[in-house]
Symmetry: C2
DNA sequence: TAGCTAATTAACAATCATTGTTATAATATA
DNA sequence: TATATTATAACAATGATTGTTAATTAGCTA
């Protein structure tokens, strides 16, 4: 994601209005590395500006994606995650216990991409997404098989 | 997935009943490489034995997964795919145009796994899933940006 | 082969994430 | 400040999946 001021510029240039709701959403996303859900973003925005609707949050997030300012990722946890990290190519670690998502930098290039291409037949590769499942450091500490205990 | 007769054995051994619905579902899944959705399996079963409920299909599929006889995969197309290929470790190609899912054999081992492990910090890796997005051979033929034209 | 019982099914309602609709409100600009 | 345009909120709707439960069936046994 660009900086908030850049986003404001982008919104102005594309004839979109700068509303308190949008600014608050930009703010929550800004350098956020938590891969929050729409609901989580909604809660944070609400605590900042009092009132938003979940619909507005979804709308703005979809808009930001179509402007290539965020990435909507689905790692199979049932809800989409919103990721402002679009400038740096990266992949994801997903905790099988607490569902937290963390970035991992992997160079999918050279040898790997070659190997992928060789096996893919007639398929024209656009992008490669790697999801690594396992246990995060927090869940490793506690017994590994427990469900998220508060 | 095991062969159908093996599945029947597994079901007998675990005190489950061999019903026409279940047999038909086994049959649809048997050496199926299409990664069908529950709905698609439901339609095929219905054409075979006349009546099933979608709920029964979902139930049986979840059961087969917990018996490790199929794999439920979510490649972000909004609906789960059911994959009987569990004996052979593999990954997936997903067409961005028609959403078809195809298997791809990739050796995620040696160099790659080492690289993954080095970047993953304290994270304990259980499994690595690779999703390769792009265009399948069929969609490459037609103009690439069209939606599935019948 | 008929009867018994536990397991299964089908019908239906419910859930959850996400999107559609629309009347009201707020922003940008002249 | 008035006006045009865009955005918001409230609410309903959707689609995939799961929950509930009464009726049915498979598999065993007499
Ligand atoms: Mn990320
Ligand atoms: Mn597969
Ligand atoms: Zn965890
Ligand atoms: Zn295709």
């Amino acid at each position: 994601m660009n900086s908030i001021s850049n986003l404001v510029d982008i919104y102005r240039l594309t004839n979109r209005k700068i509303t308190p709701q949008r600014l608050a959403i930009f703010n929550v996303l800004d350098s956020n590395t938590d891969h929050p859900t729409a609901e989580e973003i909604y809660e944070q925005v609400k605590s900042q500006i009092g009132n938003v609707s979940l619909k507005t949050v979804y709308q703005t997030l979809n808009e930001l994606e179509s402007l290539n300012q965020i990435q909507i990722i689905d790692v199979g946890t049932g809800t989409s995650r919103y990721d402002p990290n679009v400038n740096q190519s990266h992949h994801h670690l997903v905790c099988q216990n607490c569902s937290k998502v963390k970035d991992i930098e992997l160079d999918i290039s050279g040898e790997m991409l070659k190997a992928f291409g060789q096996n893919s037949g007639e398929f024209k590769i656009d992008r490669v997404e790697v999801v690594i499942r396992g246990l995060c450091e927090v869940c490793l500490g506690k017994g590994s098989s427990k469900q998220s205990e508060l």
